[in-house]
């Protein structure tokens, strides 16, 4: 202590700083520091730009005779434009959207009550959980031959495949949401004299519903990923069918346009679910600031 005090005594006493104070460098890669909204948006755009650049470069580096196997981003956009304006592509897109939504909401209509009952009643859970857990390991695509035999090359077959693709995971996720409901909320309702039905529907479901909505949002993304599988086999319409036809004629630009479409639709679905969640659960909005 003494030594330190003596050292200080040697220092010149100034009322002003001799040089402007240097802030420690604020570099981007500090641990656990959030980035500003604008910075995040900029970085996101940069990511896209980098991807497009690599793609474009790849296109240029490809020998001219095989460039049609790796069309440039612009060629894909053009192909998309031609599809929409000349080939009635929007009709296919609409059919695919309808397939996704019908099969997905059918899956939700089954899995939400099922998972709710499994989460609330241990015997139901014990009865169904081993079966459903096992079913998750069955690849949806392996059902295609079976569904073709049962339903033929119909819409029902495609809807059934999309349904089977998400239902088991949906049950598992929603069961988890139901079981994560704070135990004290249920006990509080019990001490107030709530009956079983009032607790299952009025407390557990209400409390779990924002999380269930998130699970649905995540699983519909998986639904989109099954779309092409569902529409590859014996389909005349839909985005997947368009892509398969293009594949037969080695039209890579159209295949890529299809991939792009599914990507865009996926993002839009995600936004749709987020918006729905925001407006359906005003009580669950994160307070800003």
């Amino acid at each position: 202590m003494n030594g330190a005090a003596q050292n200080v005594a040697h220092l010149p006493i100034t009322t002003e700083l001799t040089q402007p104070a240097k802030r420690p460098a604020r570099h981007l890669f500090r641990l656990w520091r959030p980035v500003k909204g604008t910075t995040a948006a900029l970085l996101g755009c940069l990511g896209f730009a980098a991807f497009l650049m690599v793609w474009q470069l790849g296109h240029y580096q490809t020998p001219a005779e095989s460039q049609r196997f790796l069309p440039s981003p612009w060629q894909v956009i053009t192909a998309l434009n031609v599809l929409i304006t000349e080939k009635g592509y929007l009709g296919d897109v609409a059919i695919s959207i309808v397939r996704i939504f019908i099969s997905f909401f059918a899956a939700c209509a089954v899995s939400i009550p099922l998972a709710l009952l499994m989460g609330c009643f241990a015997p139901v859970r014990a009865f169904l959980n081993p079966l459903i857990s096992a079913a998750r390991y069955l690849p949806a695509a392996s059902f295609i031959p079976l569904l073709l035999v049962w339903f033929g090359p119909t819409d029902t077959q495609k809807l059934a495949l999309l349904f089977l693709g998400v239902i088991f995971f949906l049950v598992a996720l929603i069961l988890d949401n139901v079981e994560s409901v704070q135990k004290e909320l249920i006990e509080a309702a019990l001490t107030m004299g709530a009956k079983r039905r009032q607790i299952v529907g009025g407390v557990v479901f209400r409390a779990a519903s924002p999380a269930i909505m998130d699970s649905m949002r995540n699983m519909i993304a998986v639904g989109w990923s099954y779309l092409v599988i569902a529409e590859i086999v014996a389909a005349q319409d839909g985005i997947g069918a368009v892509m398969m036809r293009a594949g037969r004629f080695l039209k890579v630009d159209i295949i890529m346009a299809g991939i792009l479409t599914i990507g865009i639709l996926g993002v839009l679905t995600d936004i749709l679910f987020r918006l729905a969640s925001y407006y359906v659960f005003p009580w669950n909005r994160k307070r800003s600031g």
Partner: protein, 276 residues
């Protein structure tokens, strides 16, 4: 606020209390792991109407288990619990419970939360609304009737839960570390608020707490638990308060006997900790 002012050290309220047992436990035992662990061992207690009892003791002494069994949320392994002369077989609105965790329903506004319990009891809507607003006023949430719990602080969420419990007008209030998650300042504000509510509503109260000063301030009687197995070490009336309840916590501190009581409880707590 007026309710709290009225409540200030009125000895009268105490003398009116009759000694009718509201809750009775007889030889209550709770074991876990097929009898390997005894959380609560042969506890017999009587809780007269209007008395505020604090369960105090070291962690793991079974005081919360005891409270949960009285609430009907857990069943005793053996022994009997009765409320108003009838055996307790499950939870019910005659025994309102306030939890340490925030249990105000996040999807309901403060007012809707308070109305929830009344709705279960079939109270008509206009009466529900009127009583909810009155209770929210009583817990100082008049300006937050239409706020969701996510917009409220921890203390405010807890006050919503308290108002919701009171709305059912239960004869018994069971509190499991109700202010344990709150910071010190909010904690004593809530304690003073509860004193006003105890006085006004003539509740029979059982409160579990770790906080020795809170126990002395709120309770008329302290049941001190010992650990492994959970038994009663001491069951003492807080006679030094002469039946008074204090609207301001600091008014209790200079009372003869206060310091001795607090020291005694600390000494018991230390004994229990040493045993572990």
């Amino acid at each position: 606020m007026s309710a709290m002012a009225r409540a200030s050290s009125s000895a009268l309220a105490r003398s009116e209390r009759t000694e009718v047992p509201v809750i009775e436990t007889a030889g209550v035992t709770k074991q876990y792991n097929a009898g390997k662990f005894t959380a609560v061992d042969d506890i017999s207690l009587v809780f007269p109407k209007g008395q505020v009892t604090a369960f105090v003791g070291p962690s793991g002494c079974g005081k919360t288990t005891m409270l949960r069994m009285i609430a009907g949320l857990e069943d005793p392994t053996s022994g009997m619990i009765s409320a108003y002369g009838a055996a307790v077989t499950g939870p019910g609105p005659d025994r309102g419970m306030i939890f340490q965790a925030y249990t105000s329903f996040p999807w309901l506004t403060a007012r809707q939360n308070v109305e929830y319990g009344m709705k279960l009891l079939g109270v008509p809507e206009s009466e529900r609304r009127e009583r909810a607003l009155k209770l929210l006023d009583e817990v100082h949430l008049r300006d937050f009737t239409n706020s969701y719990p996510s917009e409220l602080s921890g203390g405010m969420k807890q006050r919503v839960a308290i108002a919701r419990t009171l709305a059912q007008n239960p004869g018994v209030l069971l509190m499991d570390e109700p202010f344990g998650a709150l910071d010190a300042q909010v904690r004593w504000e809530m304690q003073e608020m509860m004193i006003g509510i105890f006085e006004q509503e003539q509740k029979t109260v059982i409160a579990v707490t770790h906080d020795i000063q809170e126990a002395i301030y709120l309770a008329d009687r302290i049941v001190f638990f010992t650990r492994n197995p959970g038994r009663i070490k001491k069951d003492i009336p807080l006679d030094f308060k002469k039946g008074k309840r204090f609207a301001r916590k600091e008014d209790m501190l200079l009372l003869p006997g206060y310091v001795e009581t607090e020291r005694q409880l600390f000494a018991w707590m230390r004994e229990e900790i040493k045993k572990q």
